[in-house]
């Protein structure tokens, strides 16, 4: 089975407090720790497990600048066979549809049976997988937390829905799935693993390579654009307990008792 996994390099939200920069044009990007989007990492792990069961190959692809290469390489160290970077000045400022169009062009160059994306990334949009499927006219299912390969024509998948319930589907290949966290336990990447892939060449495909007209993607082609970043006007919010640790704990316990929080 030929599997393509679409990944994104994002600020690691478990490692960073995200703040707005001085003029509100972006988040403050100095000193941010970046990593592969958490959902995408689960998708790569799932692809590797499928390949190890039924054979084939796993390719990871990312749309981004040269810095995105580090996450492509990281996922290759995890076990992906190939990496591709889609990079061009014309891609900058793309909205979800632009990213999906760029990925669609790359998919059409290959011969993939299955495409995985993360269910969402740092912007919480949860959009690229569904758009990619629509552009390819392939079936799509989102929030996948279970995959079973039935044969080379169809697979069985589970979708996470409300209340911890799961919708089960049979879906024909080729298809696009967006992967929910928790579907597996992504393996760690060892330093040795990183070293092994450090010198592998990662091909870079540009707009010209992909046959994409520059004005159809990037900021020029985007119908939805980010104007500014801001910290929302906070409501009343929580009453923040202050003082020494002892004082804070005293206040907390007093409140807990008053509200029935200690039986």
């Amino acid at each position: 089975m030929e599997i393509l996994v679409c990944i994104k390099r994002v600020p690691d939200s478990s490692e960073n407090e995200i703040e707005v920069n001085k003029d509100g044009t972006d988040i403050e990007r100095d000193d941010l720790v970046y990593s592969v989007n958490e959902w995408d990492n689960y998708a790569v792990e799932e692809a590797i497990q499928i390949r190890d069961k039924v054979g084939g190959s796993v390719t990871v692809v990312s749309v981004g600048d040269e810095e995105a290469e580090e996450v492509v390489r990281r996922e290759m160290a995890m076990g992906a066979d190939k990496g591709i970077l889609l990079s061009d000045d014309a891609f900058e400022g793309s909205d979800g549809k632009g990213i999906a169009a760029i990925l669609t062009a790359e998919v059409k160059k290959g011969n993939y049976d299955l495409i995985l994306t993360g269910a969402q990334a740092d912007d919480g949009a949860a959009q690229v997988g569904g758009m990619l499927a629509a552009m390819l006219d392939w079936p799509f299912a989102s929030l996948i937390n279970f995959i079973e390969i039935l044969d080379d024509k169809k697979i069985k998948v589970g979708r996470e829905i409300a209340g911890g319930n799961q919708e089960m589907y049979e879906i024909d290949l080729p298809c696009v799935l967006s992967i929910q966290t928790g579907i597996n336990e992504p393996r760690y990447v060892s330093i040795r693993g990183i070293r092994k892939v450090a010198s592998l060449e990662i091909p870079v495909h540009t707009a010209t390579d992909l046959g994409i007209s520059p004005e159809s993607v990037g900021e020029a082609g985007a119908k939805t654009k980010c104007l500014d970043y801001f910290v929302p006007e906070l409501g009343d919010g929580a009453q923040i307990l202050e003082g020494s640790t002892d004082e804070i704990i005293d206040k907390l316990i007093e409140l807990l008792r008053a509200k029935g929080g200690i039986k």
Binding site: I18, E167, I171, P232
Partner: protein, 329 residues
């Protein structure tokens, strides 16, 4: 020109979802002069009861009635919507598991702008809609500008608009089934099999009065012990947010949130939980919420009654010790 807005109505067991009336409010904020049409898909009498329920609130209700829609799935519904929706309309869909399945592809098939997970609207100027979104699980907000002049599909975050209860619609139900299914139902490349219900765990957190809930801030499985010790001291049960279940440190039945359990305790301790809207969405019945998080910007502090900015790994053992001292005194 007033916008023509279509609100997709999610329903279950013949009853409309809470988001139905929220989408009216969202449409009103988007454009106060908008005409708002509910679009409801389903089968037979359950569908009719949903249509009758929402009709007084909408200018029109469009229904698509077909046995294949007895359990509505996005892949079956999407091509039917493409057949009935006019060019350049604005389509609102709740940003939940169904909306995420349906809406991105719908925007491509309608060749419309896509605006995901909107939490507020700030007006339309020259065909461009200004909207508010959140990024990084609510740590920062953004204004986005979306060119809706050739139509748009917008997903709206559940709970971000207050339900419009005024019932100020006209209530006509129009049957769009013929147009929707005229060229047949789509070939099923994705076939619905069944629903697997959530497993019931050893503890039913939906019945707990006191929940000690833990999130990513616990950092390591070995640290989970301090949470159970605090819960025991307080006489409560342990629940959690999604990352703890993803890491397999607690079973899924203890997860609070839209994809987990809906809980209604009296007291809710949110420990090392950032407070993503999917988590907070599982918290009902106005509990007294205490949040402890080392990140002062964590959105959980907006929902909590009382907050402490500190590392839970340092603070929790001290709280437990103090409660135990008091109880033995």
């Amino acid at each position: 020109m007033a916008q023509q807005v279509f609100a997709y109505i999610i329903h279950k067991d013949g009853v409309a979802d809470d988001t139905a009336l929220e989408l009216i409010a969202a449409a009103g904020k988007l454009d106060p002069d908008a005409s708002v049409t509910a679009v409801v898909a389903g089968d037979g009498s359950e569908l009719d009861s949903v249509c009758n329920e929402v009709a007084p609130s909408f200018d029109e209700v469009w229904k698509i009635d077909n046995p294949a829609l007895a359990y509505v799935t996005a892949e079956v519904l999407r091509p039917l919507l493409v057949r009935i929706l006019p060019k350049h309309g604005i389509v609102l869909v709740p940003h939940d598991h169904f909306g995420m399945d349906l809406a991105p592809g719908l925007s491509i098939k309608l060749d419309a702008a896509y605006l995901p997970d909107a939490v507020d609207f700030e007006g339309i100027d020259n065909g461009k809609l200004k909207a508010v979104r959140e990024e990084y699980t609510g740590q920062v907000s953004t204004h986005v500008l979306s060119d809706i002049s050739e139509g748009a599909v917008i997903t709206v975050r559940p709970g971000s608009f207050k339900a419009d209860e005024r019932k100020s619609g006209e209530g006509h139900v129009i049957d769009k089934t013929a147009q929707a299914v005229e060229s047949g139902l789509p070939v099923g490349a994705r076939r619905f099999l069944e629903i697997i219900e959530a497993e019931v765990g050893d503890v039913d957190i939906t019945k707990s009065d006191i929940l000690v809930s833990v999130g990513r801030g616990i950092e390591d499985q070995d640290n989970m012990e301090i949470i159970f010790e605090l819960a025991e001291a307080m006489g409560g049960d342990v629940s959690c947010s999604r990352p703890v279940v993803d890491a397999k440190w607690l079973e899924k039945s203890r997860q609070v949130g839209t994809s987990g359990q809906t809980v209604k305790p009296k007291v809710y301790m949110a420990l090392g939980i950032s407070g993503a809207f999917q988590h907070v969405g599982g918290l009902k019945g106005s509990p007294f919420v205490i949040a402890i998080n080392k990140n002062p910007r964590a959105p959980i502090f907006q929902v909590a009654d009382v907050g402490i900015v500190d590392d839970i790994l340092d603070l929790i053992p001290e709280i437990t010790e103090r409660i135990n001292e008091l109880k033995s005194a």
